[in-house]
Symmetry: C2
């Protein structure tokens, strides 16, 4: 795989200077065009020691306008980083749309080194690569341009380089024992590199193997590839967006013909009894016309909303549950177990009241409530998951999301803020995101607070008629209510696609506020206790093992 990058390719000095003069002005021009482009550029450098990774990054910083350029290199994770899932720091550093980010020793570094040093098994290595592919796919789906350079140097060339640096008294200091240690691991490194390149060279994020032997050759190669990739991507994204809107338009036209959508329960609620009827379709490429209605049953319709708790019982149970929660959270903090609580639900379902019952039991230093409204400008300039990654707390804390990343498949879907392919792929993006949280040991509880449509109306009217509650009711609430059926379907799909054994949804019957508060608290307590118990078992195991050794 690397033989083509061991040919000793060079570029004469004079050619280099002439070429670079052109290249630099082109790169600056394209950087200007990029500023208004609807995507970020993510450049990844990987490769062999001494093949010029950091020199190339420095050169690009020199060639281009550094104001629109972000450069990030990663060493061992800090405490701050280690307390969060591995990808937190990469998400945090992603460039916004219109900018270029250059990444050195980033998400590829730890997996390769773990493999070369035998710290990761073949299976774990595969899993790492899988994570990378998924991460890059999410970004590329959001139109990010990802360009990856693998800087290569043959084993002998690397040896020569080290030897010649050592010979010169002025450069001797640059060669350390670590360099030679790395050199001795060369073959293992190359074997891992080949696997990395094979597995992670995807249609959306190709690796470019660059021969690093000659500084001039490699610099111009990287610069050229960069320039061409950006120009091509500017074109493609423009056309792709046009295509997307065309498909959307066509489907909307089709939808006016196909009255009922055949997806499980997706048929609009018929006011009168369903009456199938149709005119035959087919013909000149037109969309078939049909009227097919399926009875609409969602998971929400099966909830028993008549459950109640009387006031006296509630008082006692609430106190007990809050006490338990407080203890659980203290223990969790000691053990470094973080908790993330997600609240979604109908308007006026009582999310706020529930959250106050939780925070009331906690120390103000240990929790954070994140209300999620429309994204800020800065947030809109990133992948929609970026703002949630940002808010992940350090180990041991409780983070409460009042509305969350599920907005993508609820309000953004129903109101058309996200295009269909966007919210459709969000299900797997969210599963993947949550999987990383859970794998990091975070306790994740997701609650949908449900009230019936009648109960919501009662509460709306109460808010309207009670002066001190009036501020809570907005026109938007009434508008959302009109789309109740669409939201109900979206909730059903959301539960179907994102309620997994490791990150289940809890559907909470909320017509009785007391009932719903207790249900939420006891669910959190159960999950936390189970996790604490698990943690204790594991530390006992670890202790025993240590004793044996």
């Amino acid at each position: 795989m690397f033989r083509t990058a061991e040919l000793g390719k060079t570029l004469p000095k004079e050619d280099y200077h002439k070429t670079v003069e052109v290249l630099r002005s082109e790169l600056l021009a394209v950087q200007q065009r990029l500023r208004s482009a609807p995507f970020p550029v993510i450049i990844v450098f990987g490769g062999v020691d001494g093949a010029g990774k950091s020199e190339t990054i420095n050169l690009l910083n020199e060639w281009m306008d550094p104001r629109w350029l972000i450069t990030r290199a990663y060493g061992a994770p800090s405490d701050e980083m280690a307390e969060r899932p591995e990808y937190w720091r990469f998400w945090r550093d992603l460039p916004p749309r219109g900018r270029i980010g250059m990444f050195l020793s980033c998400w590829y570094s730890r997996p390769i080194l773990d493999r070369v040093h035998g710290r990761a098994s073949e299976a774990e290595f595969d899993e790492d690569l899988e994570r990378i592919v998924a991460f890059e796919r999410d970004l590329a789906d959001d139109d990010a341009l990802i360009i990856k350079f693998w800087m290569h140097l043959g084993k002998e060339a690397q040896k020569e380089r080290l030897a010649s640096l050592e010979k010169n008294p002025l450069t001797r200091w640059r060669v350390t024992q670590t360099d030679w240690d790395h050199w001795h691991l060369y073959d293992g490194f190359i074997a891992a590199a080949e696997q990395v390149i094979m597995r992670t060279s995807t249609g959306w994020a190709q690796w470019n193997i660059v021969e690093g032997y000659d500084k001039r050759y490699r610099s111009v190669t990287v610069g050229n590839l960069l320039l061409e990739s950006i120009l091509k991507h500017l074109d493609e994204v423009e056309i792709r967006r046009r295509l997307a809107s065309e498909i959307k338009e066509r489907r909307e036209q089709a939808a006016t013909k196909i009255v009922a959508k055949p997806v499980d329960g997706a048929a609009p609620m018929a006011e009168e009894p369903a009456e199938p009827a149709a005119t035959s379709g087919g013909g000149n490429g037109g969309v078939a016309e049909q009227i097919i209605r399926l009875p609409r049953v969602t998971i929400l319709s099966r909830l028993d909303t008549t459950q109640t708790v009387d006031k006296k019982e509630y008082g006692k149970k609430l106190e007990a549950a809050q006490g338990t929660l407080n203890q659980n959270c203290r223990k969790a903090k000691q053990l470094g177990i973080s908790t993330i609580l997600v609240f979604e639900g109908w308007d006026a379902a009582g999310k706020g009241g529930i959250i106050r019952r939780i925070t009331g039991a906690l120390d103000a230093r240990d929790f954070q409530v994140i209300p999620i409204a429309a994204p800020t400008d800065e947030e809109s300039a990133h992948h929609y998951l970026w703002r949630f990654w940002r808010h992940l707390s350090r180990a041991g804390r409780v983070t409460i999301f009042d509305r969350s990343w599920y907005g993508r498949v609820l309000v953004e879907r129903v109101e058309g803020f996200a295009r269909e392919p966007e919210w459709r792929r969000a299900y797997s993006e969210i599963r993947d995101f949550e999987e990383q949280l859970v794998a990091h040991g975070i306790v994740l509880c997701k609650f949908w607070i449900h009230v019936t449509k009648d109960e919501q109306l009662r509460r709306f009217e109460e808010r309207r008629d009670t002066p001190y509650k009036r501020w809570k009711l907005t026109d938007e609430d009434w508008r959302n209510r009109e789309r109740w059926e669409d939201y109900e379907l979206a909730v059903n799909d959301m539960v179907e696609r994102t309620s997994t054994r490791r990150a289940p949804w809890t559907l909470v019957e909320g017509n009785d506020k007391r009932f719903s508060r207790l249900k939420v608290l006891s669910t959190i307590n159960d999950r936390l206790s189970a996790s604490l118990e698990q943690q204790e078992i594991e530390s006992v195991k670890a202790m025993r093992k240590q004793e044996r050794n």
Copy 2:
């Protein structure tokens, strides 16, 4: 994940009949439109026992025109199948463009059962799912529509169903002990199913979870989804193709402006010394104009084509090598090790002569030479890898490809028969394909037979001037020769992207025919011997292990 499919959804009889009447005529109409569509439809059924998988398939066969419908269900693999990589049988059965194929218990079956019965580790299960994702992605990239139905039934509902079948004397025979055994594995099955659905619900091949409780409900749900998916896909493929040709057009326009392509060695060979010069680009969204030339060095230019073997030495060595080959192949046959030899190379490089030296050493029953020319109609109606999967031989045989799947990234790329995204993604498709061959224990040797441009000219002229050789020289040969530089670049990229440690390319210096024949024979012998040795070590190990037990 399955809670939304345990709601007991039903469809009243009368509604059902009215709906089906419409649905059937729509399905028939869409089937007619499909016949001229540039893609196949692949429908996969998975799910719980008793949720109506096979009943639904039968029903669809009844509703639609069976002439354009293929149905496949898989049991335990036959001898024929077991001797080939697992996916051989699935590739073989794929529907051509314009047809619908329905698959039951197919590529999902073995992985899930292995996991549920504890025969596969978590890591192996992951690998299986990975393989599925890659397989479906390859098909979807080729525009195939993949629709997957997961038929679900709750644990209790399944129990009720079995019990009620047992109660009725007329249906009692349908319930066997195996059914109850499966029922006891329900929880494990559901856990595996959830992983399957999460991992393999991709943008290009979504799972649809269908509640199987009520026959009428599930049939209409499946039929509706099928209809809608096909209509949508017909639209999308049309628009997508338009997009592709628009991008191509734009890039061609851009290419006339950008004289040199900046990819590694991709710059057209300059007859005069490279002379960088440029006019500044940028501006109103136009493509930057630039002239940047990099010195062109490909891996072929580094081969030592002066190596020769004298006639006497050749005779002796050839005989010895053929003898060894014969012995190696006999042993390989006994052990069931298959060999695949791939030959690519310049016109008149001597591929035919080399192949004859190989087949001359083998028993005619044990090998097969597959000359690859332009695809037949039937072949064109499938994914381009389909015809190579077809030709995989049974265990222990030698299959020789005279030209191969690499045509995709050589002639099809250079001549523009494949669009750029097609040949670009072919590299990873090919790596994946070959990985399956190697993982199955097949010995795979790939040879590029190289001659210099001068030597080719000499041979062409000799062919032209020798009456009995004249038939070997065609106009196409001369045309190909004119595009030598493009082919050389394609070969360089091919080696870079598909020469892996498990499936390396051997570049053969072919100016001296004797030299090249011996090099090929000894390479094959080395690879075969290594594989035989490995196999022997493993069988000794297995024997020892058996003795110990």
